[in-house]
């Protein structure tokens, strides 16, 4: 049964590997924005409904307190080690703590990747406070997922060119692919020049038409499924990818095979 036929019937994709490259956990920065039941039990239940095998999560609490937030992520991963992969979060305004916290996250808390959010921290992605992130990730052989948004002074897609060039073997995921139509175009352009840049599709503004354009421009091998859940509802993003006008093999790469390979290279196995 084709992927879109299954989704039209509301069935889980139980015969397709699905990895959500961009997910979170918990309330948004101490209740600023209301999110009902953003706990790991509910998240895994919804993953089952869609047939999502694995989600890469970072706690939203880490946006305000990275240490407490990373511990929250680790507790969830300990509960569902086969379903959740933890991503470490750091704050570039505390540069002296970046290295030690990443070390703690990977050695003690079992994290496998890094998530940064230059907008939330109001800090440019190519600034000094993030240098240790890139160095650590590169040496460790892991990956970095970053929030990106076109027009932002901290994380417009083009700002990733210098980092991608300096660390050509480091997989860098441009979360939201720039976030809006101009951002998608910008993300496509920068990704064309840097083969270690990956584009994730999560975001309220992206449509199947853009999924098709992105795949046509950079190839399905560097496009990743992500939802941002529970920050927003995951089913909308799930439907957009499953119904996009691309072929079945491309959908399978995007839905899971590409991210599974990034995770495997980062040392994660189920």
């Amino acid at each position: 049964m084709a992927i879109e036929d299954k989704v039209r019937e509301g069935l889980p994709l139980d015969d397709v590997l699905v990895v959500d490259a961009h997910a979170h956990l918990g309330a948004y920065s101490e209740g600023r924005m209301y999110i009902p039941t953003p706990d790991e039990d509910t998240m895994v239940r919804l993953m089952d409904r869609m047939g999502v095998d694995v989600a890469c999560i970072s706690s939203l609490e880490a946006m305000s307190d990275f240490r407490a937030g990373n511990e929250r992520t680790a507790r969830a991963v300990r509960k569902y080690p086969d379903r959740l992969v933890g991503l470490a979060v750091v704050n570039p305004h505390y540069p002296e703590e970046v290295g030690p916290e990443l070390e703690r996250c990977f050695e003690e808390l079992g994290m496998k990747g890094i998530k940064i959010h230059p907008t939330c921290n109001d800090y440019p992605v190519d600034g000094k406070g993030y240098e240790e992130v890139w160095r650590f990730a590169s040496e460790r052989g892991t990956f970095v997922l970053s929030h990106t948004w076109q027009g932002s002074s901290t994380c417009g897609p083009k700002m990733f060119a210098s980092v991608a060039e300096k660390y050509p073997d480091l997989p860098i995921i441009l979360g939201h692919s720039g976030g809006n139509p101009k951002g998608y175009e910008e993300a496509i352009e920068v990704a064309k020049d840097h083969p270690n840049l990956y584009l994730d599709l999560c975001g309220s503004l992206i449509t199947g038409a853009w999924v098709e354009r992105i795949v046509e421009a950079v190839g399905a091998d560097r496009v990743l499924y992500g939802t941002d859940f529970p920050f927003i509802d995951p089913f909308y993003e799930f439907g957009k990818v499953c119904f996009a006008g691309i072929d079945e093999e491309e959908k399978k790469k995007i839905l899971g095979l590409n991210m599974a390979e990034i995770l495997r290279r980062a040392g994660w196995e189920r």
Binding site: Y34, P36, P38, P181, G208, F231, Y236, G239
Partner: protein
Amino acid sequence: MSPLRLFDANAMVGRWPTEKLAFHDLEGMLTTMDRLGIDEALVWHSLSRFYDPMEGNRKLMEEIGDHPRLHPCWVLVPPFTSDAGTVEEVMADMRKNGVRAVKFFPREHGFKLRSWNMGGLLEALERERVPVLLDADQVDPEEVHELCEAYPGLPVVLGRTGYREMRAIYALLAGHENFYVDISTFLLYRGLEEVVGKFGAGRLIFGTGMPIHDPAGAATKLRYAEVDDEAKEMIAHRNLEGLLERVGT
């Protein structure tokens, strides 16, 4: 369960000025509807928003004609300027053309959705029970609250709700029985489920926002939602059909 019958409350035909969308004509819309299993749609025309409301409404009628799956939703403006027609003329035109839902773009078209600015149009729509479809980027929650309070017989359906203003959306649902949410971009995590639990399935209406938004989003959300089949049927088509059937009664 048999396939869910979907009636989209929020579809647009016509070009979008700032982006090439997935389609702009009826052929593209119908192909998309078939692929996603959407049976019928309320349709408005982009010219009504970006060029001239009346010309857009005329163009809409010309394009959809009496298509059995597509139903017109006109964009209206207050009756004071000479492009708008009197309230009586507009209501008569709507009846003549089978128009049973309207949309306003107060921010885009430069007016306030309040009695002093609407010249009796809202009273006429309330009398005829014509649903008013609004986008959250065109009105703030305060205006929606005042509208629902001043015109309790007027069904008000809010789309483009996103996920950030839920504390206000929930208050509107709690405070006004004539307030409904179109789920096209109701992106709150488990929001559909929670609203059904708190306020009942009668307050949500299936919409896609296509082609500005991807219709696969709302269609997939509804199909996978953790609510029972009865609630899905209500959201998918019955609530909207009920509102449209009551028009003019």
